[in-house]
């Protein structure tokens, strides 16, 4: 069952076609990756999905509902969450406060009730704070909850962004280069964690990644973009052997000289 379907999505910036007639589909509960050289249009596609950009052409359907023309906050409330390529946590707020903001769609009391401190409000806030603390532990940031986000080490900030994204209880999670800047050990942990998210919480994951170990390690299906056009789609094994993919990443000569790489099913 497809949770997300994109048909002929096109996004232009003046004369530049960033995403060109892109067809895409994800099944519920799957872990899928989009890869491609820098500038291929991957993040642009994410931005179209989340309502930050409005696609010029094409349809995007989430659980049967159209995403086109909706504002980002509406789309988040429908159950889609994302993280960012360059980490965008709220720098002057604590980690807990960041996650509390992430929980926004879940919280129901209004501002009048907050002035009056009704029981319903107090209970909800208490529960929200507990949930935030639980999420801190869940992403492995125990003890850092009250630190100011800006002061956290890079790895912790990435985890914080993850925690903030899952705080809204999404069904679809868009991760934009979650292992950027990480060493192989950290990447492996992140890979394991992403799988955990899907296995424990049933979240469908769409990944943009450059680290091939991660991509090949957890993706069930990979889509390759180059200059806004889908040039390949398939299982990790298929993608690795696809000459157009190799050419896009490594240039024309490389395709000829490359043989099969290490076991794509390996999880480090």
């Amino acid at each position: 069952m497809a949770i997300l379907t994109a048909n002929s999505v096109t996004k232009r910036f003046g004369g530049l076609v960033a995403v060109d007639n892109f067809d895409f589909e994800i099944d519920e509960g799957a872990i899928v990756s989009i890869i491609g050289p820098n500038g291929a249009g991957k993040t642009t596609f994410f931005n179209c999905l989340t309502g930050f950009y409005q696609a010029e052409e094409g349809d995007m359907l989430y659980k049967g509902q159209r995403l086109n023309g909706r504002t980002p906050d509406q789309i988040t409330r429908m159950g889609i969450a994302r993280t960012y390529q360059n980490i965008r946590v709220f720098p002057a707020m604590t980690a807990i406060e960041n996650i509390l903001v992430g929980q926004h769609p879940r919280l129901k009391t209004n501002w009048v009730e907050s002035i009056l401190r009704t029981k319903r409000y107090k209970d909800e806030e208490e529960e929200a704070e507990e949930e935030a603390r639980r999420l801190i532990r869940y992403v492995g940031m125990t003890g850092l909850g009250d630190q100011i986000a800006r002061n956290l080490p890079y790895g912790a900030q990435r985890r914080l962004e993850m925690a903030r994204a899952i705080a809204s209880e999404p069904q679809l999670l868009l991760l934009d280069e979650p292992t950027a800047g990480m060493n192989p050990h950290e990447s492996a942990e992140m890979m394991y964690f992403i799988k955990q998210l899907r296995d424990d919480l049933g979240i469908t994951i769409l990944l943009i990644e450059h680290d091939m170990r991660v991509v090949m390690g957890i993706s069930e299906r990979i889509t390759v973009l180059d200059f806004g056009i889908k040039i390949a789609e398939g299982t990790p094994l298929e993608i690795q052997k696809n000459p157009q993919v190799i050419e896009a990443y490594l240039g024309r000569g490389a395709a000829a000289g490359l043989t099969e790489t290490a076991n794509p099913e390996a999880v480090y």
């Binding site: 989340t50 930050f52 504002t71 980002p72 906050d73 988040t76 409330r77 994302r82 960012y84 965008r88 709220f90 720098p91 002057a92 707020m93 406060e97 509390l100 903001v101 992430g102 926004h104 769609p105 919280l107 009391t109 501002w111 907050s114 002035i115 401190r117 409000y121 806030e125 639980r134 532990r137 869940y138 992403v139 492995g140 940031m141 125990t142 003890g143 850092l144 630190q147 100011i148 800006r150 002061n151 956290l152 080490p153 790895g155 912790a156 903030r164 809204s168 209880e169 050990h185 950290e186 942990e189 394991y192 964690f193 955990q196 424990d200 919480l201 049933g202």
Partner: protein, 578 residues
């Protein structure tokens, strides 16, 4: 930390010249001779002298601080030289005034001024004395660096307090006379200045207390922090009750004149709380805030005035909610078109809105309804059990009630989800939107609530003055309120009150500075911003934003934590939590 290990003549020259120019400027504009009559310490120290030598003292101190580490001799030399050099422009002025009548170009360079600069000893000898005094001041200022900090701080604070008490002697003596009688006043003050003996005692007392606080302060804070939670809450409740009691009997303590000052402070604080939400919490730069103040005021005028323009002749209390509602309406009216704007553009548009309201108030178009430049008169005072609250002492309670309500709402909101929405929006609007926050609602709420507070403030203001005129609602008020919350600490609630005290209370108390009031005000603003950009009572968030804490202690955070152990969280269980 100076680069060179040696004496660098440029440093004292630089600072000396700056100080000299400043001293020259304050002399030439007439501050020094105007305040030479105003003794701070009877018979010894005038305000004019303090103003004259303040820059040389301060800059000699700074120059001395630039000496290479450990080179005490050089430090003292820097101070001495800076002091000496700073007197040169003044000596030059004295000389010139003997040769040419400078009053054609510089009307304030009167014989009186020259008298002061030369200490009454004529041109030649006087200039020499001036240089000696200035150099000595420079030397003494430099010497302050050599005293350990524990001693230096009490001395500086002692001087500051003695100065302040000398400055505000008039107000203080009036209060002391009220409570303790004329004799007590005569013991401390003479004319408007301190007795020398009293000055010394005050200096020693305040210096001593500062010293004690430095020594014991950390101790006391530690003991407070490590108290049992229950005791702590008791303590806090006790503190709050004491504060409330003091607030309630305040008019009795401070008298009518000061009550009037406090009323002004509180009315501006009310506005400050509102702007604090718009700018401090939500990060929406609103430069036309006075518009809502004006709308609240004019609404109160229209509804309660017994004059020609009044429409309803309502009571104050009935009119208040309507004034607030009118302001909220205006807030929404402003908010809707500016929803997409950010930063500078938002500032300009809101500025325009403020001006529109002022011009409308002044216009002939609306003159038949709201009085134009002639204003709206005969506005009602609030009436409680048949008595109109005319005296500032009584009106105080109305303003106080307003401030308490508004502060309470601000506090609750800051801790709530809405406060977090505002903060997130301020930090990163796009990401906030991606978190599911409806930007439209969040922004409009900020504008509406901010406008409501300003409208309340305006309504109370109108009633206090009983007649309002368009020229009171100008952009300077918007800017003043903005400065107020910046100086106090943007986003901080106690900061709003501190800012109001400093920026509204201080000019009132500085009235004797006459035409130099705003110069002082400007200087104080600049100094405050240089010293404490985060404000005098900053919110925790603002402190984080403006100061880089590179010595933060992360605790035991290993670079990589195996999530395997963590994810087997008992809270998670085997079923998906969500």
């Amino acid at each position: 930390m100076s680069e060179s290990k040696n004496f660098d003549i440029r440093i004292p020259i630089q600072y000396g010249l700056i100080a000299g120019v400043v001293a020259l400027s304050v002399s030439v504009i007439g501050m020094v001779d105007l305040f030479a009559q105003r003794y701070l310490i009877a018979g010894y120290l005038t305000l004019g002298q303090v103003i004259l030598f303040l820059a040389p003292a301060a800059l000699s101190y700074t120059a001395a601080g630039k000496a290479p580490q450990g080179r005490k001799g050089i430090s003292l030399l820097y101070g001495f030289l800076a002091g000496f050099i700073s007197s040169l422009p003044l000596a030059g002025l004295v000389y010139l005034s003997g040769v040419v009548d400078l009053r054609q170009f510089l009307p304030n360079v009167s014989p009186a001024l020259i008298e002061i600069l030369t200490f009454g000893r004529g041109q030649g000898e006087g200039s020499l004395v001036l240089m000696i005094v200035s150099s000595t001041i420079g030397l003494v200022s430099a010497a302050m660096h050599l005293i350990p900090g524990r001693v230096r701080k009490p001395i500086l604070y002692g001087l500051l307090w003695t100065f302040l008490i000398g400055m505000f002697s008039e107000i203080l003596s009036e209060r002391i006379r009220n409570f303790f009688g004329l004799d007590s006043v005569k013991a401390i003050f003479e004319a408007r200045a301190l007795h020398p003996g009293a000055a010394i005692i005050i200096f020693l007392l305040t210096a001593g207390l500062t010293y004690l606080w430095s020594e014991r302060g950390e101790d006391i804070k530690y003991r407070y922090a490590s108290m049992q939670p229950k005791r702590k809450t008791q303590f806090r409740s006790g503190g709050i009750i004491a504060a409330i009691l003091i607030l309630l009997i305040m008019p009795l303590l401070i008298g009518t004149y000061l009550s009037e000052v406090v009323n002004n402070v509180l009315i501006f604080a009310l506005m400050g709380f509102g702007l604090n939400i718009v700018v401090g919490f939500a990060g929406l730069l609103d430069l036309g805030y006075v518009a809502f103040f004006a709308i609240g005021a004019y609404m109160m005028g229209l509804l309660t005035s017994t004059g020609d323009l009044g429409v309803a002749g309502m009571s104050f209390w009935l009119a208040i909610p309507i004034c607030v509602a009118a302001a909220v309406g205006a807030g929404l009216l402003l908010g809707i078109p500016v929803l997409r704007m950010r930063g500078d553009y938002l500032a300009i548009v809101t500025l325009g809105f403020g001006e529109i309201i002022r011009i409308l108030a002044l216009s002939d178009l609306l003159k038949p309804y709201i009085g134009g430049a002639q204003g709206l008169l005969k506005i009602n005072k609030p009436i409680i059990v048949g008595n109109a609250l005319v005296k500032p002492d009584h009106f105080y309670y109305v303003v106080l009630a307003g401030v308490i309500i508004v502060a309470f709402i601000s506090y609750r909101l800051s801790q709530a989800r809405l406060g977090r929405q505002w903060m997130a929006m301020r930090e990163d609007e796009d990401v906030a939107e991606a978190m599911g926050i409806r930007l439209v609602n969040t922004k409009l709420l900020a504008f509406a609530i901010g406008a409501a507070f300003a409208g309340l403030s305006g309504a109370i203001f109108a009633s206090k003055l009983t007649s309002i005129f368009p020229h009171s609602f100008n952009i300077l008020i918007s800017i003043n309120v903005l400065c107020m919350i910046i100086v106090g600490g943007m986003g901080s609630l106690p900061g709003v009150v501190v800012g109001a005290l400093l920026l509204v209370g201080l000019p009132e108390l500085l009235r004797e500075f006459a035409e130099f009031r705003y110069l002082m005000y400007g200087v104080i603003l600049i100094v405050m911003m240089l010293a404490k950009p985060e404000g005098f009572w900053p919110s925790a968030v603002r402190k984080r934003e403006l100061h880089k804490y590179d010595d933060m202690d992360y605790g035991e955070y290993p670079e990589t934590i195996a999530p395997r152990a963590e994810t087997r969280d008992p809270g998670l269980g085997s079923t998906p939590h969500l």
